[in-house]
């Protein structure tokens, strides 16, 4: 009689252990599922956005009244060549900084995205830049980068780098 009671108690304990194990298994499988699932939309947006934005900025023409209807890309190259080309009353570098700032303000700033934008001719975007626009230092953040580069007539390359930070 005593032996039978012990056996049922052990069976009960075993059932409790099995139930707890199943519960834990369900919990762990849910957690792993959430980690492994990648958000395709976020991935696509973060990889594509700097490419599309940089491309759209460079392809844009200026107003005739502001800089003779020149394309921003052509003005960037002029700025990289270091010549003193003027857009009406402004040198090309400050003019470009104003225009690109305006476009980034209407897009990334408005959408609450942190970024750094550099136009540079050497190897270091921070120290060799001719234009720098940013709304964050991006320290300790994940950065998605897109670099466009153009060959300069004077030799070397003009690099246009857009970092999106999250």
């Amino acid at each position: 009689m005593k032996k039978g009671k012990s056996q049922s108690e052990i069976m009960g304990l075993l059932m409790v252990v099995v139930l707890i194990s199943v519960g834990l298994l369900v919990f762990v499988s849910f957690s792993l599922k959430n980690i492994n699932e990648k958000d395709i939309v976020n991935e696509y947006t973060h990889k594509q956005l700097p490419v599309l934005l940089n491309d759209a900025i460079l392809e844009t023409h200026t107003k005739d009244s502001e800089c003779y209807g020149e394309k921003i890309q052509a003005l960037m190259v002029k700025a990289g060549e270091g010549n003193n080309f003027r857009c009406n009353n402004k040198y090309v570098r400050p003019f470009l900084k104003d225009k690109v700032s305006y476009l980034l303000n209407k897009t990334l700033d408005k959408w609450g995205i942190k970024y750094r934008y550099f136009v540079y001719t050497g190897n270091d975007p921070v120290n060799d830049n001719i234009i720098e626009i940013k709304n964050s230092d991006c320290k300790g953040m994940d950065i998605d980068t897109e670099i466009f580069f153009f060959k300069l007539e004077s030799g070397g390359f003009l690099n246009i780098k857009l970092d999106l930070c999250s």
Binding site: V26, I40, T45, L52, I57, T60, H61, L103, T107, W111
Partner: protein, 161 residues
């Protein structure tokens, strides 16, 4: 002996009631989790739909820029957009076709620089909640031979017609 059996029976029933109660709580929790993940999945699919619409739209030969037969995927021709938009508004046959391609959405093109203007080029909204996708684009004005900087805004609605 009879009383002892009654106590044992009562004990068994109590254990059974507690077990069913725990099972019900577990089921409720599981259902809530499943509902939450289903809603999340629906949201993800809608966002994916919105993104798909933007990719489809960027590559529609009806409205994209092309030179010598080569299509530029991130560029929209301003006059093609206007004609296409008018055609959809006027002819139900075209509207029905594009609903199958672009779904229940509202698509706007906003020119930011040098010209500032917004066009609603497609509107098949059904109201209710929606998801929003914005993509930087180039808008080509073929008469002035000028590229404008703009954004493509796609609102994809969750409701059904």
């Amino acid at each position: 002996m009879n009383r002892k059996s009654q106590i044992k029976l009562f004990e068994s029933i109590a254990v059974l009631v507690i077990f069913v109660f725990l099972l019900a709580i577990g089921m409720k929790f599981y259902t809530n989790v499943q509902l939450g993940s289903l809603e999340e999945a629906e949201r993800k699919f809608k966002r994916l739909d919105s993104l798909k619409s933007s990719v489809v739209l960027s590559n529609l030969p009806e409205i994209s820029c092309s030179k010598e037969g080569i299509t530029d995927s991130n560029c929209f021709n301003l006059y093609k957009i206007k004609s296409w938009s008018d055609l959809i508004k006027e002819d139900a046959k075209f509207t029905d076709y594009y609903v199958t391609v672009l779904g229940n959405s509202m698509i706007e093109i906003q020119s930011i620089y040098p010209k500032e203007k917004t066009w609603t080029i497609y509107n098949s909204s059904v109201g209710g909640s929606y998801d929003y996708t914005v993509i930087p684009i180039t808008i080509y004005d073929s008469i002035e031979d000028q590229n404008n900087f703009g954004i493509l805004k796609i609102k994809t609605f969750y409701g059904k017609r």
